[in-house]
């Protein structure tokens, strides 16, 4: 079931086009990541979905309702980028407030804080929290009332690698229970390949969309192969592979993904001259920077 539908969404600020005919859908239980540099239009898109600002063109539908309508707000949870709650109140008080706004029992506050690993800090003022802890308060409030759609703006910024992993585990649980999740990130590697689909924005335009496998196949970035020849065999190995570069104790070259098996066969054929070898696929950051550059 489709929860969120954007079609040809356009937003301008004066002459600057911040979003240019962006279309996407998010279904129940799906995790969709918006990727883009700062200023690519991710936050603007999210604010449009939340009904905080209004579009200059195109439409948004949230389970059949207009963004910002009472029903849409009741169905949606939001985590703003770098939310810093008032330093004078405690995590528990802040959560109770948000629970009351959603008409939920305030006693859930401790439960929610425990879920994000803040049980011990619940009674402390938010002013004493680290950035990561504040981010967890933000996440805890987004969990209130089992939202149908979660809009998370750079949710893992400020989280250490362990917390980030825990965060994605939490998202997996939510998605499994049918919540549609739209989150943003400025780096593909931050996502740790734990979203179902990615939408890459560049200067307000949608430049790519698909699963990680789709994006990889589409970009067809070369693999890098590194061979350690046996003593004295360096030159023979370098001659055997076209375009190979011989350095002190290594021979390196790249090959298109489609030639991977052929290359492995040739490596196997030379096994008497080879001590060891490694094959690296392009990293997520390589892939992302390739797509961004291609768009520009």
């Amino acid at each position: 079931m489709t929860i969120l539908t954007l079609s040809k969404l356009t937003k301008r600020y004066g002459d600057a086009c911040v979003l240019d005919e962006v279309s996407l859908t998010v279904s129940a239980g799906e995790r969709v990541a918006l990727l883009g540099h700062n200023g690519a239009g991710k936050s603007t898109l999210m604010k449009l979905v939340l009904g905080l600002i209004h579009a200059d063109g195109g439409t948004i539908e949230l389970a059949g309702h207009a963004p910002g309508s009472a029903v849409a707000r009741a169905l949606t949870a939001y985590l703003p980028e770098n939310a810093a709650f008032h330093p004078a109140i405690t995590g528990r008080e802040q959560l109770r407030y948000y629970l009351r706004l959603r008409g939920q029992p305030v006693k859930q506050a401790d439960e929610l804080l425990e879920k994000v690993g803040l049980a011990d800090a619940a009674g402390r003022r938010i002013g004493t929290y680290s950035k990561g802890m504040r981010q967890r308060v933000g996440l805890a409030q987004a969990l209130i009332g089992g939202p149908r759609l979660m809009v998370l703006d750079e949710p893992t910024s400020g989280l250490d690698p362990v917390s980030r992993r825990e965060f994605y585990t939490l998202l997996d649980e939510l998605a499994a229970s049918g919540t549609a999740i739209l989150l943003s990130s400025h780096a593909l590697s931050e996502l740790e390949a734990r979203t179902d689909r990615m939408v890459i924005l560049s200067k307000g335009k949608q430049v790519a969309q698909g699963t990680l496998a789709d994006l990889r196949a589409d970009a067809a970035l070369p693999l890098s192969v590194s061979i350690t020849p046996k003593a004295g065999q360096g030159e023979r190995i370098a001659e055997a592979f076209s375009g190979a570069i011989q350095s002190e104790d290594r021979v390196t070259f790249t090959c298109p993904p489609a030639d991977k098996l052929a290359v492995l066969e040739r490596i196997a054929a030379q096994r008497d001259q080879i001590a060891d070898f490694d094959v690296h696929a392009a990293t997520l950051d390589d892939l992302y920077s390739h797509i961004s550059k291609r768009a520009a």
């Binding site: 009904g51 600002i53 707000r73 939310a83 810093a84 407030y97």
Partner: protein, 276 residues
């Protein structure tokens, strides 16, 4: 449902005001100045007043006209600009919380702070009046009660004006500067300007036609005139009291009652222009 969201916002806001020491600071300011006036400020109003509490009330009017708006603006300037800067405004507005509800919740909490400060300050002065004047001071109680509720309404006006400044500047530092500027213009310069105009006009049409309305239109002057006229006291500090006797009491009363609503509407309209 709507009421519960307003009250939830008010409760959180009051907790913040308490922790930020705004409650303590406001109460301390009001009590300190009231105490000073209760002991030393009876001279200017002495001739006409019959009981010691009425004398004190006459002095407190001049104090309140400066201090209540100042306290109200100090408490309120951060309301929207602060949330905007912290990034929580977008979050609050993404909740099922209307802008009117958010603003009303903040207003209620901050008005509670102003009320506490006003009541505590005046209570101290009343205690001193009763201690020095005995039961005779009871005759001044109606004037004191009038001062309390008009002070709260005056506070409400400037809280809402503070909210409007907070919406218009969008940065707490800018909002603070605008709030202080507003206080200077409405409380200090407005009266000075009117005085200068009256002196220059020398009893002409400005003095007879425009001036009485100009006094009533400013909420702080309306507050002063209404209290002075109702208590029959003379306020030497303002220099504008001569006019007070010539203005029908319903005019400043109407101004006192209409201004809080008007200011709240100005704040709400300003809030509408804020993009989170």
């Amino acid at each position: 449902m709507m009421l519960s969201r307003i009250l939830a916002t008010a409760a959180l806001e009051f907790a913040i005001a308490r922790r930020n020491r705004w409650v303590i600071v406001s109460v301390a300011m009001m009590m300190l100045f009231s105490l000073v006036l209760a002991f030393a400020g009876s001279a200017p109003a002495g001739q006409m007043a019959v009981d010691p509490l009425s004398v004190t009330v006459a002095s407190l009017i001049s104090l309140a006209v400066y201090l209540v708006p100042l306290i109200a603006l100090l408490i309120s300037f951060d309301a929207i600009a602060g949330e905007s800067e912290r990034g929580t405004l977008a979050l609050s507005l993404a909740y099922p919380l209307a802008r009117t509800e958010l603003l009303l919740g903040k207003l209620i909490a901050q008005l509670a702070v102003v009320t506490i400060a006003v009541v505590c300050g005046y209570a101290v002065a009343a205690v001193v009046a009763f201690a020095t004047g005995g039961v005779e001071a009871a005759e001044g109680l109606p004037a004191l009660w009038r001062l309390v509720w008009t002070s709260v309404l005056l506070g409400a006006v400037f809280l809402s004006l503070g909210h409007a400044m907070s919406c218009l500047s969008r940065r707490p530092s800018g909002a603070a500067a605008m709030a202080i500027g507003l206080w200077l213009v409405m409380i200090v310069l407005y009266d000075l300007g009117l005085l200068a105009a009256v002196v220059a006009d020398d009893g002409g049409t400005f003095t007879t036609e425009v001036f009485p309305w100009a006094l009533v239109l400013n909420p702080a002057d309306a507050f002063r005139i209404f209290n002075l006229a109702a208590s029959g006291a003379v306020d030497a500090a303002s220099g504008l009291s001569g006019a007070a006797s010539s203005i029908a009491a319903w005019k400043p009363l109407a101004a006192i009652l209409i201004w809080p609503v008007l200011a709240a509407m100005v704040a709400r309209l300003s809030f509408q222009k804020v993009t989170p």
